[in-house]
Every structure is written in structure tokens, then in C-alpha cells.
Subunit: 453 residues, 3 copies
């Protein structure tokens, strides 16, 4: 099953070593501890050890970290013969992306004295950027070599950082949970890459582009970790205090409502009324995406539930009816259906955020207004301006994602990465040592008259 | 394998949509942010952002959340062909229950200005109530339709909230980890429901009411998350400071001792001395249940270990000898053996709590007495009164659970929910899309002469 | 498959009951709550409830706890027919070890008024000691009875506590993440035990000393939890404030770089360039081990990345080339390859720590110097002395581990524990109830002409 050109014996080491050595050199030149992590700087000021930002951000960081490595990694193990690659390539890309993102985001967030400062906040932001890359991975899952993915990560992280800078620093947009910067960007970038990498004969691998019983069980591990920790994700970099607290709570309610509507729609759209694991694994998470932007706002629990409720419906309808159309009409082979979980709900989240922002008033937010909308003030920007800028930001993000995905897609299309053939997609044994005994080919099991062993 | 009447195409969507829409409306009318989550209220007072209760309760909340969705969900995946339903219905019921519990508990905890206030404390309390429903689910696991479970959840959450109100608010009982309010209540409620829903021909599904190798591995994920995070569970809503700290530590020691006695009893009660996964998965957790009430008290590490040690013994004896008797004599078909993990250890926990409370003195607790026993004071209630009230509370809980379970059981017995037939229990393909290729029927695998593929 | 002498029906209960009862008695006599957990002591002082150490250590504790039970437990489930024992014996040993370690470490850390005081710090330290035992378990995985493991744990915990006391209290060595006390000690102790318990005919079980597809997937759960939470592990007992923050960050970067070099080396050392799951599961973690000692120092992100990068290379080379030599030449049958993940990287971590310590200056650390190096001061010890002492500590640790492993190995060699025969190693059904239908013998599945069921 191995083409010589999928042999990773030189391609992968060369790529990994070059990237890591460049990263090490750049870190050596550019990166320093920030004032919360540097022994001298921290002890120079007069404060309690308990005031270190570690205690107020690290628990959220760990939840985000688990979402990146376990959540995304295992959610994608639904593919029956691609589990090693799903978890393993997720692991590899994320390890690279978080380092490169530290540099890219550090550069754009503003270097001090020519240095990038790192601490738990930069760790969270790097994981956020990584999430976006993993979303794009989901669109092309099963159809690339690991080297292609590393190349995609390098470019995508850069574009993510540029888009994030434009939105958050230049436009003063608010997007705490990344409905735009992470989900919309990652989804449409990935979909465009998938379009460029369209495989006309992917049907040859069709029988492997599905789950088996226990791979669905592994995927549920991923689903549940994403679902449970999304409140931490959306609140991880909001302002301390009520902001973090409210964001976590809004997200929690959005997801709960989303789960109910997902189960309802999954049964409703099936002729025999049976639940589809694909919906439960994915669409039940749409509420987290859709609450990303507005999560830190005074969305109210009621508002959050409506958002989640609608997100679940949209997502299931996408999985059921839209994805097949995207494939047949637009030639977008979206393995994980990222358009239904991150794309449409991301856009929805942006819209919800724009509307909620435009309705912000001092009456509602009191003195908490500046924490959520630093730019909105009597002598500053009006709430409706903020809402308008939120909407413009969605357009900017879509543009960056689609154009970026197009360009990077063509870079990834170069026949130099050891990509699998159309007949060898969704197959671990191309890139992983999987002895013949090891791989459980459930589709070839049979009923034999005698049933003992 | 599909009866028309198990077709969920209308039943499930209708139930989910109606419930969620009602919840959304009620939240819109009744629910507000509390003073820790509301931007205006929080910023109105003069305090540090770091004083927000988010930082002192949210990490515990996340641990509880993981126990609810991963712990309970995966523990019940031991059933070889019911993994989708175990994890999936657990997910659905919990998403509903936590929303409904927010309203029910909010109503009983005291509305302010006609509003229910939400924050991380209400989130924890809602997850606690949800835990009780999932315990009852364990008793009827494999034998119900998802609609029955949603109906059960609606009623059980209400009864839970009433019982919790009687115990905590009216009687002034202490039950931080819910040995009574959660475990005793959930177990006996579920057992009574199981009794009402007794299936005389359940033997037709007997071959599916067991585990296979990898389903036992999935279940161990659930077991270990429950075990590890139980200290957070028991301490999640105790008073800040030493109370949370002590409760976590007591629970940790109780579980460690319980594990040792569980392994001992499991080998001892087997003719061939082999360990039984059922015991390891379940009985090893009994120490957490039994330390629920007394966990916040000055139980001492030594006392905690004795509690856990005994709980493990009782639990294994229950699994080995009592459950078969409950089934044959009392017609209680308790799928998960909740009587052995939540029922008896819950009662034990209540008794331990009553005894420990009656021994509370100012000498032992110093000025910390009022944190643990607000009602006990020289001019208030005596410690032995508190002990007596603790014991009465156990009786109240048992009464509520048994009567409530009886009534709700009959509501669930109505033939309108699409319940499976006796021959179709413990079977995912009734309610889930599980293609024939997907389901690994290990019992039908064979040894064939040629062994290559 | 059951020899009468592997029958655990009396051996295991007797061992567990005796150990647990002794522990309970000793706890009753010796153990008290510390000032953070005792109601009276805590309330005697005048401080905010939010100052309780619970809030500043417990989240790290929970991450460490997950590493012990899920991380180690599931990492070892790669063995195709030993999953129950891997997770289950890990669970049992850990539950014993953390209790015994509490006493041993409490004794050596200094009793106050003849009492050992417990709180979250002692809980973390006990889990650290337990980690060392589990590392040794990895070396002998599949080849012992549970009783042997409990005996090993009792002795190893004692020796660990002695070594830790010599290093940290007598020599004033710094080893926050235990590169020496935990990893070097645990690995070389375990390797020596494995040497003493050498099985000349282990080839009879060779076919079971490997993974299958889904067991590798379970193992990845373990790998990822260890990887993600290692920052918490290394920072769990460092000084509050910048120290914890910096240690977590250094570890995070070390692991990211390690992952890249691991993937590179895994492909490079394979003729067909295919990634080996053994490397990904284990070697990708070496960066955490190697950053254990120096993690709290001003290692810099750049320095951390170099450390991790090299650790990954060394680890893969070990798995690929050194382990077979250790087995054939030195008769060390190291099931999990702990020498490659904990042994060599542990030594590396000690060396890195020694070098980094010797370079410590007031210019670099400012007033934070005393937090990291309490002994280093103008009128105290010099930095190069500290570095020298760090190096000496490595030698002390190796000595303790090798001599201790030799002695304990011979104690474990006594034919009284019900150990499996050479042909019955790596086999769950010796000690666990695993019905014939349950065990999925993938190696005996076949391709049958008709493929429907």
C-alpha cells in the first residue's frame, strides 16, 4: 500500500528539524519571560505572590489545552482507519503551531524593547490560534500527508495572526471566544484549501471515510471534552472578574440548549427517527461556537439559550442537507463537516456579537462597560458603531480566510509532500507502522456457523 | 429490529423542542445574572477583580462537570452494545436536567425580586441535581427510550429540589457531597422506577446485558474520572477556605482506602480469585459516596479511611450477593447496581454524617464551627440535635425517593414513549443509526482455519 | 490458563487488608490536619478565606492526580491483552502508594509534635512518590502478580522518601519536577528489579507483548494527558507566584519542541519512513522529564526548547537502538522502555539542572533568587556549589535506585506471590475475570468469503 512518494523518511524529519531549529533560534533572539514569569521582574514589584496572573488564567489555559489535544484530536478519530493520524497529526501540528503562533502573535501584539514576552496569556492565545489550524485540518482530514499539514500550519498561523491583529488591534473588535478569528477563519480557510485540493476520485476511498462502533466511542471522548470546557475556552482571555464568570456561564447555557435541539433535529431528519452519531458528535457543539463573540457581553442566559438552540438546528441541517450539496456542486470535500460546526455557527456568532454589541448601554453594563467594550464611551465610539465594526470584521475575516486558503491551497497542491493517492485516503498504514494483525478490519468480519474461540 | 413504536422521529423532537422552548421562556422571564456575573452589579461594588467567586468555585465546577458527562457517561459504557446510548442519553438528559434544575433549585433557594440568580454556584448545584438523575438512569439503563428518560428527568429534578429544600433549608441538614440528597435519593428513586418498570422477560436480552473487553476499558475512563474528581465534587459548595480544603482531603483518603478493600473483596469473593471489573469500576467509588455528608466535618484522615474501607466492602458484597437477590426476590432489575454504589453507601454516608455531627464541639472546630454547622451554637441547636436531624433527613429522603419513584415509575410505564421490547433491550440500534458493518458483534466472531487478512 | 499458584483468592485480600489496616492504624496515631485544613487552626488566625492554600495548589494537584491515574494507567494499555491489568494494577498500586507515601514523606519532612500534617501539599508530594512507583511498574509491566507490585510499592515508597530527604533536606538540592527524585529513581529502580526478575523464556509470551490498533488508541489518551498536564506536574510544588508560572511555561515549551523532534526521529529511523506509535506515545513526553529539575529556574523558553528537542532525539534513539541491546546484552526486559522516557531523560534533566543552577546569579534572578535557590546567597552557598551538589545528587539517586532495586528485586523474586509463568505474561485472564467471549483476539480473526452480519 506504500507508494515511494509517500515515504516520510526524509520529508518529515527535514521539515520538522528545519522548523524546530528555526523556532529555537527565533525564540533565542526574540522571546523573554514577561513580568509574571521572570524571577527578577516579578520580585521587583511589591505584590503578593497570590496576585500572579498564573492563578487567574492557568486553570482556563489547561481546559483550552485539553480541548486542543484531546478534544480536537479525539473528535477526529471517528474515521475507522485513521485514528492514529487524527490524534497523531493533530498532536504534531498543534505542537508546531503553538510555538509559531507565540512568535507571530507576539510580533503583532506589540514587542517591547524588541522582545516578545511570554506567559500564560500568550500560551492561551497560541492555543487559540492552533485551534483554528486544527479546524482547517478537519476539512482536509484523511487526504494529506503530515508535511502538507505542517506547511499549512506555518502559513495559516501567520494569516491568523494578521487577521487577529486587524480585528482586535486595528478595528477594536471584540471576539473573546473567536467566533470570527478562530472558527470562521479556520473553517473557511480549510474549506478553500479542500476545494483547491479537490480529489475527483475520492470515491475510491469512500469505504474508509466513515466510522465503526468503537471509533465513534473514541470520538465521543473528544466531543464531550470540547463541550464541557468550552465555557473555559470562551472566557479564557476576557477581563478578570465578572467578565470571565459571565462568559463561562453564557457559553454553558448556549451549549445545553444546543444539545437539546441537536438531538431533536437528528431524529427528525432521519426517516427511521434514529439518532446519527455525526450530529451528536459535532452539532451539539455549535452553541459554543455561536456564543464565542457575544459570550462576554450581557447576552443573558435566556439569550445564550436561544443562540445555542438555533445553532444546533442550523448545524444539523448543514450536516444533513448542505454538506452533500457543497460536495456535489462546489466540489468541497469537507471530511469533518467543519462548515456545519465552525463555519455557519461562526458566522452566526459574529452576527449575534454585532447585534449584542450595538445594544450595549451604560444602563445595562454600568461601570463594567469598558471591560467588555474598551472603545465604547461617550467621547469615544458609539455602541452602534461598535456593532457595525463587528459586522465589518466578519467580512474581513471571510476575505482573509478565503483568499488565504486559496493561496495556501495551491502551495499545498505542489506534488512534493508525499500526499496519498485518491485510493489511499483515510488510511493510517500509509504513514504509520500498523502491522497487518493490528488493524481491525471490521468490514471483513463474518458470521461463521461455529461461534467459539 | 425496529418496531414502529420505537420510532423516535416525532416523539423525541417534540419532547426536546417543547421542553427547550419552555425552558427558554422561563429563563427569559425568571433568570438574571447574579452579582458575580452581572457587569453592572459587580462593578458597582468596590472590590478587586480577583475576588470574584469565579476563581474560588470554577475549578471545582469543571471537575464536577467532567464527572457528570465523562464520569457517569463512560462508566455506563460497559454494556457491549449500548455505548452510544449510555454516553449519548447521559449527555441528553444531563443537558436538560441542568437547565431545569437551575429553575427548580433557584425557585426553592429563594428568589430575589421575583428573579432567580445564576452564577457558578447555581451551575454546581444544577450539576449536583443532574447527578442524581443520572444515578437513576443507571438503574434503568438499557431498558428505556430517550423520551422516557427526559420525562423521568423533569419529574425527578423537581422532587430532588423539593427534598433538597426540606433538608437543607427547612431542617438545616448538612450534606455537602450529597450522600442523602444526591446518592440516596437518586438510587432509591431509580430502584423504585426499575421496580415499576419490571420486565418479566428481560432474559431475552440477557446476552447483551454484559461487557466485552474494550467496553470495560471505556468504562474504566468513567470510573477513574469519578474517582479522581470526587474530592472536588464533595467540596464544591462547602464554605471557602479550610472547609473546601478539608473536604477534598477527607474524600481523597476515603477513596484510597476504598480501593484497597474493593480489590481485596473482589478477589476474595471469586472462586478462582480473579478480579471482577464490575467491582473495580463501581465499588472502588463507594468511598466517595460514603464521605459525602461527613466530608466537610472534622472526620479526620483516619476516620475517612475507615469510612472508605467499609464502603468498599459493603459495595462488593452488594454486587456479589445482594443484587441477584434484589432481582429474584424483589423484582428490581438494577442494571448498573446503583444500590451497591449509591444506595447503601449513601445511607452509610448519612449515618456517618449524623454520628460525626453529633460529636461536633467548639473544642474540635474552634471558630470554624459555624462554617460547617451554622445552626449549632450555644444559643442555637446542640450538636446531638444536629445529629438527630441528620438522621431524620435520611428517612425523609428515603421516603421522597421511594414515593416519588413509585409515582414517576407509573408515569413512565404509560405505553406512549416508544420503549424497547424485552428482547430489544441493551441495544443501540433501536435508537441510533448503527449500520450493520459498524457494530462489532464480538460474540459472533469465529476462529477460521486461515488466519490472515 | 490458571495455575493454582496464581490464584489471588487469599494472597491479594490478605495483602490488601493487612496493608490498609496498618495504614489506618498509623494514620490514627500519627496524622493530623495541617493549619490549612483544620477548622480550629485555620480560624484561629486572622486571614481571608481566599488565602487558603487550597486555591493556589489544588488545581495543580488535580492535574497531577490525572497524570497518575489516567496518564500512567492508560499509557500502559498499549499491551493488547493487558489493559485491565495496566489500568487496574496502576489504580491499586497508586491507591496504596499515596497513603504510604503520606506517612513516609511526612516522617522525613519533619513531624511536628509527633504528628504528620496533611493538606494539599502532602497530597501532591504523595502523588509524586506514587509516580516513581508507577514508572518502575512500567519496567516490569506484564510480568508480575498484583501482590508483587504491592510489595514493591511498600519498599520503593520508603526508599523514595529516604532519597528525597537526602537530596532536598540534607543536600539542599532543587528538583521541583523530580527529574532525579521521581524519574531517574523510578526508572533505574525498576530496571534493576526487571534485571533481577529476568525471564529467560519470556519469548513464549512474545506475541502478546505488543499492541493492536485500538489498544494504541487507548494508550494515546494516556500520552496526551501526561503531555498536557506536565506543566502542572513540574510546577506543582514550586514557590508561589512567578516560580509556578515560569515552571509551567518552561515545561510547555520543552514538550512542544520534544514532540517535533520525536516525530522527526521516528520517521527517520524507519526504513519505510513510517511513524512508530511507541515513539509517539512515549518519546514525545521526554521533554517533560528533562525539564523537571531546571523547570523552575530561569532556563528561558529558548533553553527549554533545546532541552526538549534533545530529549526527544535521545528518547527515540533509545527506543530504537538501545532497548534491544539492554535486553540482549544486559538481560533487562524493559516492557515500557522506561529507560528511554524516564531514565536517560531523567539523567539529562539532572545535568541540565546542575548546569543551570551553577549559572544562577543575582543579576538574572533578582530578589527571586531565594525562591528558587534558598541556599544560595552571598553569605551562604555559591551557585557553582549548588551546581556541584545537584550533580552529586544525581549520583546519590542512581546509587539508591540501583541498590534498592537489587534488594527489592530479590524480595520480589521469592516464589510466594503468585507470579505468572513465562508463557502467561502480558495476559489479563490470569488475574481478571475475562470470559472467553469477551476477549477480542484480533490475531485470530479471518477473512471469510461472505461478509455480512
Amino acid at each position: 500500500m506504500t507508494d515511494t512518494n509517500t515515504n516520510m523518511r526524509l520529508k518529515l524529519p527535514i521539515t520538522c528539524f528545519i522548523l524546530e531549529i528555526i523556532l529555537i533560534i527565533l525564540f533565542g533572539v526574540l522571546v523573554e519571560y514577561d513580568k509574571e514569569t521572570d524571577a527578577k521582574k516579578w520580585h521587583h514589584s511589591n505584590h503578593s505572590e497570590y496576585d500572579n496572573d498564573f492563578y487567574y488564567r492557568y486553570p482556563s489555559f489547561q481546559d483550552v489545552h485539553v480541548m486542543i489535544f484531546i478534544g480536537f484530536g479525539f473528535l477526529m478519530t471517528f474515521l475507522q482507519r485513521y485514528g492514529f493520524s487524527s490524534v497523531g497529526f493533530n498532536f504534531l501540528i498543534a505542537a508546531l503551531a503553538l510555538q509559531w503562533a507565540t512568535l507571530m502573535q507576539g510580533f503583532f501584539h506589540g514587542m517591547q524593547g524588541g522582545k516578545i514576552h511570554v506567559g500564560v496569556e500568550s500560551m492561551i492565545n497560541a492555543d487559540f490560534c492552533t485551534g483554528s489550524v486544527l479546524i482547517s485540518f478537519g476539512a482536509v482530514l484523511g487526504k494529506t500527508s503530515p508535511v502538507q499539514l505542517l506547511v499549512m500550519a506555518v502559513f495559516e498561523v501567520t494569516l491568523f495572526a494578521v487577521n487577529e491583529f486587524i480585528l482586535l488591534s486595528l478595528l477594536g473588535t471584540r471576539d473573546a471566544g473567536g467566533s470570527m478569528t478562530i472558527h470562521t477563519f479556520g473553517a473557511y480557510f480549510g474549506l478553500m484549501v479542500a476545494r483547491v485540493l479537490y480529489r475527483p476520485e475520492l470515491d475510491k476511498s469512500k469505504h474508509k471515510n466513515s466510522s465503526v462502533y468503537h471509533s465513534d466511542m473514541f470520538a465521543m471522548i473528544g466531543t464531550l471534552y470540547l463541550w464541557m470546557f468550552w465555557p473555559s475556552f470562551n472566557s479564557a482571555i476576557t477581563a478578570h472578574g465578572d467578565d470571565q464568570h459571565r462568559t463561562a456561564l453564557n457559553t454553558y447555557y448556549s451549549l445545553a440548549a444546543c444539545t437539546l435541539s441537536t438531538y431533536a433535529m437528528s431524529a427528525l431528519t432521519a426517516d427511521d427517527g434514529k439518532l446519527d452519531m455525526v450530529h451528536i458528535q459535532n452539532a451539539a457543539l455549535a452553541g459554543g461556537v455561536a456564543a464565542g463573540t457575544a459570550g462576554e457581553m450581557m447576552l443573558t442566559p435566556f439569550g445564550s439559550m436561544i443562540v445555542g438552540f438555533l445553532a444546533g438546528i442550523i448545524s444539523v441541517l448543514g450536516y444533513k442537507y448542505l454538506s452533500p450539496i457543497l460536495e456535489s456542486k462546489l466540489k468541497i470535500q469537507d471530511t469533518c463537516g467543519v462548515h456545519n460546526l465552525h463555519g455557519m455557527p461562526g458566522v452566526m456568532g459574529a452576527i449575534v456579537g454585532a447585534v449584542t454589541a450595538s445594544l450595549a448601554t451604560k444602563e445595562i453594563y454600568g461601570d463594567g462597560l469598558k471591560d467588555v467594550f474598551p472603545m465604547v464611551a461617550p467621547d469615544g465610539r458609539s455602541a452602534s458603531s461598535q456593532g457595525g465594526i463587528q459586522a465589518i470584521s466578519l467580512a474581513v475575516t471571510l476575505g482573509m480566510a478565503l483568499v488565504g486558503g486559496l493561496l495556501v491551497g495551491f502551495i499545498m497542491k505542489l506534488p512534493i509532500y508525499g500526499a496519498p493517492s485518491d485510493a489511499s485516503c483515510f488510511e493510517d498504514s500509509i504513514y504509520w507502522e500498523v502491522s497487518s494483525k493490528k488493524l481491525l478490519e471490521t468490514s471483513k468480519l463474518c458470521i461463521c456457523p461455529q461461534s467459539s474461540y
